[in-house]
């Protein structure tokens, strides 16, 4: 009798804990979303590298500022604009796939993708992200493209830290790594694209696999 009461109470507490967690954190975020976003970033980075090599024999010479190029030249502006379109394309493909895998996971769990917690997560993520977008645009207009990878990494990382309150807390550490990479890239000229590739490509894939093993696999 007493044992039965104990079991019922234990189950009730477990249910309560489950609802508290599900109502305040978006737990359907899929590890595959991270892997997809990372692969998209890698593909985008390869395309960007090809575009840079087309611009100069050695893009690193330019980024190390050992050669100077005419930034007002139409070819240069064209490459910059191609870069912008490529970046927006990568963002769209990464986001679409990311949403798809998370939607699939939520459906499997009988949960919805658009609920109280996910709305809050997206809103918190968007604040630094939009600020970063404004910064990147302003730097682009000023001809300071060199700093854009740093801006992308740092503001994206801040967005993740901000949004992590409403999802798995592991995301916070990914955010911190992105911010750190962004800061590093301010000082190591010529490795912007490489650090961008590590931050958006490699780290996403690694994190996706870790998250998948930890939460999705079972």
């Amino acid at each position: 009798m007493q044992q039965e009461e104990k079991n019922i109470s234990l189950q009730t507490l477990k249910d309560i804990h489950g609802i508290m967690e599900r109502s305040s954190r978006f737990l359907s975020l899929s590890g595959w979303s991270g892997v997809w976003a990372g692969c998209t970033a890698l593909a985008g980075a390869l395309a960007a590298r090809a575009m840079l090599l087309q611009l100069h024999d050695s893009y690193r010479d330019y980024y190390h500022q050992t050669v100077s190029i005419d930034k007002t030249a139409p070819e240069y502006r064209q490459v910059v604009m191609n870069f912008v379109w490529l970046a927006l394309g990568v963002l769209f493909v990464a986001l679409a796939g990311g949403v798809y895998f998370t939607w699939k996971k939520a459906k499997k769990e009988g949960a919805t993708i658009w609920n109280n917690a996910s709305k809050k997560m997206v809103a918190e993520l968007l604040i630094p992200l939009l600020a970063g977008g404004v910064f990147a645009t302003a730097f682009l207009i000023e001809g300071l493209e060199l700093y854009i990878p740093a801006i992308c990494l740092a503001f994206y990382g801040l967005g993740l830290i901000n949004g992590s309150k409403y999802t798995r807390s592991d995301i916070k550490y990914l955010g911190m790594l992105e911010v750190a990479l962004g800061c590093v890239s301010l000082f190591v000229r010529g490795y912007g694209l490489l650090l961008w590739t590590i931050g958006f490509g490699i780290l996403h894939i690694l994190y996706g696999i870790i998250m998948w093993r930890k939460y999705d696999k079972a």
Partner: protein, 99 residues
């Protein structure tokens, strides 16, 4: 000393009412669909349990609008918080006492 089992709040006998309280205690406010997404329950049943909790002054109902659509949200009251927390304490006591 009162037995832990007697300290359990009768109002929280229901799985659905416990669900509503659990969700509202960790969120500033939630609407009907949020609650429905968290608890496995029919619309009518959920509405009835919400009404009971409201009548006992454990939760508060706010009627609002998003555009032209009504958006009713629910928040937990101070009394509801106190009652739910002591219910949780009683549950923990049952688990810890009997051994």
């Amino acid at each position: 000393m009162k037995k832990a089992i007697e300290q359990l709040n009768k109002l929280f006998d229901s799985r659905i009412r416990i669900g509503i309280m659990s969700a509202l205690i960790v969120n500033e406010s939630l609407n009907f669909n949020d609650l429905k997404g968290l608890i496995d329950v029919t619309d009518g049943n959920l509405a009835t349990h919400i009404k009971t909790l409201e009548e006992n002054n454990y939760i508060k109902v706010h009627k609002g609008f998003i555009g032209k659509k009504t958006n009713t949200t629910y928040t937990i009251t101070r009394a509801g918080e106190v009652a739910f927390k002591s219910h949780l304490k009683a549950l923990e006591k049952i688990i810890n006492d009997i051994n």
